[in-house]
């Protein structure tokens, strides 16, 4: 089964494709509602601003299909901005998110040695066992680039935490919908493990 990558003009799809290839998984680009709905598992990438991301999904009429896909219980993974879009809203913009996971994104507070964006390699502490984080070595490091981080309403939706001037939620999971704030496609063997797990889910 292949992984469908949502192509909505906002993401580093080239790198994601390369990393899945390295993981031995097939990928295909999906950009219209029918393709999203016909997928086995969907990865929503994204780099950039929240409102821009939602606007591009809206322009392509992909908002409802993504919600419908999530409702089928098939795996959906958002990465970076794609993760933030899974929630209801963001301080970064006015647009409503996909609303698949209750909560919103807030900006890191500057100061005390904390520079924003949070950019660089940092550690992941999973809050529980989960197929997505299976097989990760202790002290797995991942590449982050973001100014906003998610705050899910339900603590049980936090799948992993990371420290940056306080602990923030770096992975979420609610049922079949999951998200990772970091870039697995740019995180060497650690990111490879997560994408391989997703392709096998």
């Amino acid at each position: 089964m292949s992984v469908s990558l949502v192509d909505y003009g906002l993401g580093n799809l080239g790198s994601v494709v390369s990393m899945f290839k390295r993981a031995g998984a097939q990928t295909r680009m999906v950009s219209i509602p029918e393709e999203v709905l016909a997928s086995d598992r969907v990865l929503l990438p994204g780099i950039g601003a929240f409102d821009e991301g939602m606007a591009r999904l809206r322009d392509r009429a992909l908002i409802e299909p993504l919600r419908e896909f999530a409702a089928t219980g098939k795996p959906l993974l958002g990465i970076c901005l794609g993760m933030q879009l899974l929630l209801e809203s963001s301080e970064e913009g006015e647009a409503a998110g996909l609303g698949l996971i209750p909560g919103r994104s807030v900006r890191f507070s500057e100061g005390d040695g904390i520079r924003v964006p949070h950019m660089g390699w940092n550690l992941l502490e999973p809050t529980r066992a989960d197929p997505l984080v299976e097989g990760l070595p202790e002290e797995s490091r991942f590449y982050f680039v973001h100014s906003y981080h998610v705050v899910p309403k339900r603590t049980e939706d936090a799948l992993a935490m990371t420290e940056y001037g306080g602990r923030f939620v770096s992975m979420v999971r609610s049922g079949s919908v999951a998200g990772a704030q970091f870039h697995p496609e740019k995180s060497h063997a650690f990111g490879l493990t997560i994408l391989r797990n997703f392709a096998a889910a």
Partner: protein
């Protein structure tokens, strides 16, 4: 603080080949950039920055073929610089699979480029490069076009303005120190760090891994180098090297 300081090889490309100039002049041939990217992959490098030094000076424009090859081989974040002058170009570059776009000459000759790129990609993907050279009377000039043109701004002013316009990261480079292995120009780096709140990458002069320490202590979020990672010894033989995760960690003091 991030747990790990970033250690970034900066690879310079001319006519499609990896080269290494000294103080922004002359070029030693290093090899095939794609091969270097593969080796850096195996070494699990934190991040790579690739700058095409022909793009602006020779007017060659952005080399998309090279970018595509690099993106498909790089399993780490990559920044690309060289000839980026519009949001459309920046978008095409990130669409290929490059995380960050480094704006150099255009950041100073047409500053609104920074805002346009930042609005299109987000500040996190918008890096502005500030190249500085010592003035005889003290302080530094900010230069563009590979050190050929003065801008009339100090590096601190150029960096502050870049941040105001939307840059999410500043790469400050010492022209005087490039390929000299004499250590970073710490006063220069400190002047830029204190002028902005976004992350700062220090470049120019690192000759050994120990040189990273004072730059990181000064508050640099990342330390970058060229020669150190691609050349070895006083005869400047080509040898790609990179510290292990343990070494990087001990540099950070944790």
């Amino acid at each position: 603080m991030s747990v790990f300081p970033r250690v970034i090889p900066v690879l310079l490309v001319s006519d499609g080949y990896l080269v290494k100039p000294v103080r922004f002049k002359g070029e030693q041939y290093i090899g095939d950039p794609i091969n270097a990217v593969r080796i850096f992959n195996e070494k699990q490098v934190d991040e790579l920055i690739i700058c095409d030094i022909d793009a602006t000076v020779k007017g060659a424009g952005v080399n998309y073929t090279l970018i595509e090859e690099i993106a498909s081989e790089a399993f780490m974040p990559v920044g690309y610089g060289g000839g980026v002058a519009s949001a459309a170009e920046a978008r095409r570059i990130t669409g290929i699979g490059i995380e960050k776009v480094v704006i150099g000459t255009a950041a100073l000759t047409r500053p609104e480029t920074i805002t346009e790129v930042s609005e299109e990609l987000g500040a996190s993907s918008t890096v502005v490069s500030v190249d500085a050279r010592h003035r005889l009377v003290g302080g530094w000039d900010t230069l563009v076009a590979r050190g050929r043109k003065k801008t009339g701004l100090s590096p601190a002013e150029a960096a502050r303005r870049a941040q105001e316009l939307g840059a999410g990261e500043i790469m400050v480079s010492s022209i005087d120190r490039e390929s000299t292995s004499s250590g970073y120009d710490l006063p220069l780096i400190e002047s830029v760090i204190s002028a902005v709140t976004v992350p700062v990458i220090a470049l120019g002069g690192a000759g050994r891994f120990e040189d990273f320490i004072p730059a990181l202590s000064a508050g640099a979020s990342a330390v970058a180098a060229g020669s150190l990672f691609v050349l070895n010894g006083k005869h400047r033989a080509v040898l790609i090297s990179y510290p292990t995760p343990m070494q990087v960690r001990s540099l950070a003091g944790n």
